[in-house]
Subunit: 601 residues, 2 copies
């Protein structure tokens, strides 16, 4: 199939026209970089995605990893693609030059990941985990840990994992049972079982660096007693060579509906007496270290959902432009030629719904990535703090909105193709299956809702939300000066007011001690909040497009910008209208879910 | 797995308490039947579903039919299950005693199908098609055709198919190209290719009776020139024995995302010069014959979607009751025991959303089945005509609402199970994949919307809609006499008013010739209309439950009835609120989808 899985024109629009990412070259960390370099890297990513990642996407789905009791077998194309990814430096995109990285802005790195993930989300699971684990080590590892484990990860010799869940404790990390017994000198004997460990076993790299949450005997109860350990598959000698096999065993592979290219494992630690583990940072602070770095991982999940949605959108768009079928309802003459699918209003609706979700989701995720850059390299303390505040607030939305609504987009892509879309001869059904994971992992949809409404939207008297709305208001004010956009500014304004009111109502109820009741509909609050944020991102895109249209663009660019405005219109009229009924329901403190007796189901 | 896939208590509630199905024994056609007989049949179906259908549901998914170039191979459990199905008379549930049938009411027959389909939708594909084809023959076949083809289908010796689509004409039947050349005496030579033919080839039965849409040379253009033919796999001799192999070839199997147990085929007719076909009824009336019988097939699709949703609901409910995970947001003490999942508000929301969709969908589909009974055996001409009017109006809703929202229910079932739900070790991911077919086949979601808004809701000055609202108003009036239900009557009333207004606006625009604009959002109209109808069915269920509660039921029944009222509350508060924004959008005659230039995507 020669249909592109990501739109580079849109990526460029988001990175440069929306987010002014090239201005980062004015900062010390990126001073020797420029837009040409960024574009060359994006181009390399796109070429590699097309030539090395997309071609085995279906093959990896049809031939998932197998375990013969001794070894995991993965189709060879995965390693070929990842070797090229490593060779071109992508594993260390964001790491320091001194550590062997490319020191790129997060926005550029995330854009590259979007390109690769749209082509093959299964194969990208391995770098996703490796980069996540290496980020933890960068932030909290000792120099020795960085040299021994992180640098080989950046170099792609070692891959990484994040070992949080256990069979009996998925979402509830306070109930993990994996034990870490100190043996002196920062070394521990780790024993326990870890479930859902992606990339937990394979021969794609020389070694696998597991980051493992575990409890030290005598530790406080619950999440306050969790520590974080490095548990390598092979111990690493002082000279960097591999030492003996550690006591980590693959107990089995999970067989998933989608995302089949990434091994997902149950790992047993310490079957032979205890796996050697090295404490990261201080005891009992493991969850803090893990979640501090989780922001980026959660942006990654949201962006992954966007990428799958994007690939489905582009495929179904291409199909709709080239597949003749049927006629208009007012032109049924069977002697006339059939129309292309894209001429039908309902097909366009399905395409617009996808475009709104995936381009809006991309705008959201790259905005979050840009906030990470601002948090890291912003011009002053205030700018960095503001970026952090916005990022903390938005992270559950960035993780969740695409996971829900880009999955819906993938559903629409199948519908555009009709029966063909339901077959494995076309890629869209795989995207749908792959994307179904995203509302589950890295904190379920429901947990993100509790995080947003129970903490982030209301803490400090709702300061973060006020800051967000200040930024939104600036966009609305400017948009109102453009006649075509005033309607959308008003719609967004109305949504923002609903959310402000709803949040105040909930905050007051929380103050009154009605915790369960206040949070009963937190997931719907999350969806509603996400719709508002997407409405903002669409207004910004329309505004950016309107400005560009005034500068006499080429015909191709003109169509591109008009498409942005039309899609803003679609989102505001077709989707943003859901905010008010959601708000009414949430603000009513409805107790339907709390009062029903389990026996009544 | 020992979790039941259908709730017989709910089926009994729907059939007897809601629909008074046992009163049909007062009619000639069912005079020798009684509720005990119906219950015995339902019980047999449930036992067989549990023992013969459910156990190979996953196996059939993992071992889809294969074609070695000569023969299609299907796991043996499928034939074992179907042989028992046939032996117990289920293939002829609705057919006349004289033809070897059981002459059961459609409501009872559909309830049995729901039981079987919830256990194994793939295996049920074969009887679904066979019954559909035999119904066409019952209505329009000659005596000879009935004897030669229909009776062996009722006896289960022959299976059937419906051959409508072609590779280039899926939704657009006016563009089919299959040819039928008369050779005299009602016999034709058929040639052409038919795509998406479920149950198109297998060795499960002695013969396969294909019902094929084709055009006779010189026929009028478009759908007015389509005729319907019987094209058996093997010709049938006058004594009923099989004759020579007909010129029908399996060109290939389609490989689907789900529904894998049912072969889905591309069939070539006439590769050797022409397949022998027999005209059904008159020339050029084929589409009328096919669609006349399509009502029941479409109820079957809706009910199939309900059944898959139901199985997922019951599985996730059982899981939620037995899986400990986490604590309340106001009780985080890690030393306390974990709660069962069902104690969490968001899990209950996911369960209530499923319950609302599947029990509401079941109420809707069985109501439609009951209308079929009323249309067939109603006490007088007026009653029969009224039933037909309601059934015609509701058929697109019955087909589509469950296809959309019980698929959503299956999505929620996965979410309740979390990571486990995403694996093939649990059945819920298969239900989700299986159910994704339903919005596509037997008329796509979009086409049902055009049928509802473009024809059924507005024809005869909206007479059918007025009739429906008259029935709904009667329910509302009674509900208002029950204090707990008055709120829901008001909510339903408001929705009905939105739909009446919206429909009038659209009808006026249609009158003005704005056809494309009026129908641009027909799919959203379908969803909105469906929500109103479901709101009605939930109010009726709540009303029935409230009455039963006043009669001092057992504790178990009390919980069951309270669950109905709670779920009515859920649906009315959480879902029915979507009707107003939908209505506003549709009534605004929004042209976003029509005006966007395809180049702007």
């Amino acid at each position: 199939m020669s249909v592109a899985t990501m739109n580079l024109r849109d990526l460029s629009f988001q990175l440069y026209e929306m987010l002014d990412t090239d201005s980062l070259v004015g900062r010390d960390r990126h001073a020797d970089q420029d837009r040409d370099i960024y574009d060359a890297i994006l181009k390399t990513a796109a070429d590699m995605a097309r030539d090395l990642f997309e071609p085995h996407n279906r093959k990896a789905d049809l031939n998932e990893p197998t375990f013969d009791g001794e070894k995991v077998h993965i189709i060879p194309e995965v390693k070929e693609a990842l070797d090229a990814y490593i060779e071109n430096g992508f594993m260390g995109m964001q790491h320091d030059y001194d550590d062997g990285g490319m020191q790129l802005p997060t926005a550029i790195a995330m854009a590259c990941n979007a390109i690769f993930t749209a082509a093959n989300t299964g194969t990208m699971g391995y770098p996703f985990l490796t980069v996540g684990a290496s980020n933890v080590l960068r932030a909290y590892g000792t120099d020795d840990q960085k040299n021994r484990f992180m640098k080989p990860m950046i170099a792609g010799r070692f891959f990484g994992t994040m070992c949080l869940s256990e069979p009996q404790a998925g979402s509830s990390l306070s109930d993990i049972k994996t034990k870490a017994v100190p043996t002196g000198g920062g070394t521990y004997k780790i024993s326990g079982s870890k479930m859902w460990i992606s990339a937990g076993e394979h021969d794609l790299s020389e070694n696998i660096v597991h980051l493992v949450l575990a409890k030290i005997p005598g530790a406080p109860d619950g999440v306050k007693g969790i520590s974080l350990f490095i548990v390598p598959k092979y111990l690493v000698n002082d000279d960097g060579s591999l030492g003996e096999r550690n006591d980590v065993t693959l107990a089995g592979l999970n067989h998933k509906m989608g995302y089949r290219g990434t091994t997902n494992t149950l790992l047993n630690f310490g079957e032979q007496g205890g796996a050697t583990g090295y404490l990261i940072g201080e005891e009992h602070k493991g969850l803090f270290y893990m979640f501090h770095m989780m922001n980026e991982a959660r942006i990654g999940v949201g962006l992954g959902a966007v990428s799958l949605g994007y690939a489905g959108y582009l495929y179904s768009l291409d199909y709709a432009k080239n597949r003749p079928q049927g006629r208009h309802p007012d032109g049924k003459d069977a002697r006339s030629d059939q129309l292309m699918l894209i001429e039908h209003a309902d097909i366009r609706r399905l395409l617009l719904a996808q475009k709104a979700a995936v381009e809006g989701g991309l705008a959201l995720c790259l905005y979050a990535a840009r906030l990470v850059d601002e948090e890291k390299t912003g011009p002053d303390e205030a700018a960095r703090a503001e970026a952090k505040t916005l990022l903390d607030l938005l992270t559950p939305v960035v993780k969740s909105w695409p996971s829900e609504f880009c999955l819906e987009a993938n559903k629409h892509a199948i519908q555009v193709l009709g029966g063909y879309g339901y077959t494995r001869d076309y890629p869209v059904e795989q995207y749908y299956r792959d994307n179904r994971l995203n509302p589950i992992h890295e904190g379920t949809h429901g947990i993100q809702g509790l995080d947003l409404l129970g903490r982030k939207a209301i803490m400090d008297n709702g300061a973060a939300l006020k800051l967000l709305i200040k930024h939104m208001t600036a966009t609305m004010d400017t948009a109102r000066t453009h006649p075509r956009l005033a309607e959308f500014a008003d719609r967004l304004d109305a949504s923002a007011q609903v959310i402000t009111r709803t949040t105040q109502t909930i905050a007051a109820a929380m103050q009154d001690g009605k915790i369960r009741l206040s949070l009963a509909n937190a997931t719907l609050y999350l969806d509603m909040f996400g719709h508002m944020v997407l409405g903002w991102k669409w207004l910004e895109q329309a505004l950016t497009a309107e400005r560009a249209l005034s500068e006499n663009p080429s015909d191709i660019d003109r169509a591109f910008y008009e498409g942005k405005i039309a899609t803003c219109q679609y989102f505001h009229r077709y989707e943003l209208c859901r905010v008010e009924p959601w708000g009414n329901l949430i603000a009513s403190l409805d107790d339907t879910t709390l009062t029903i007796d389990p026996d009544c189901f």
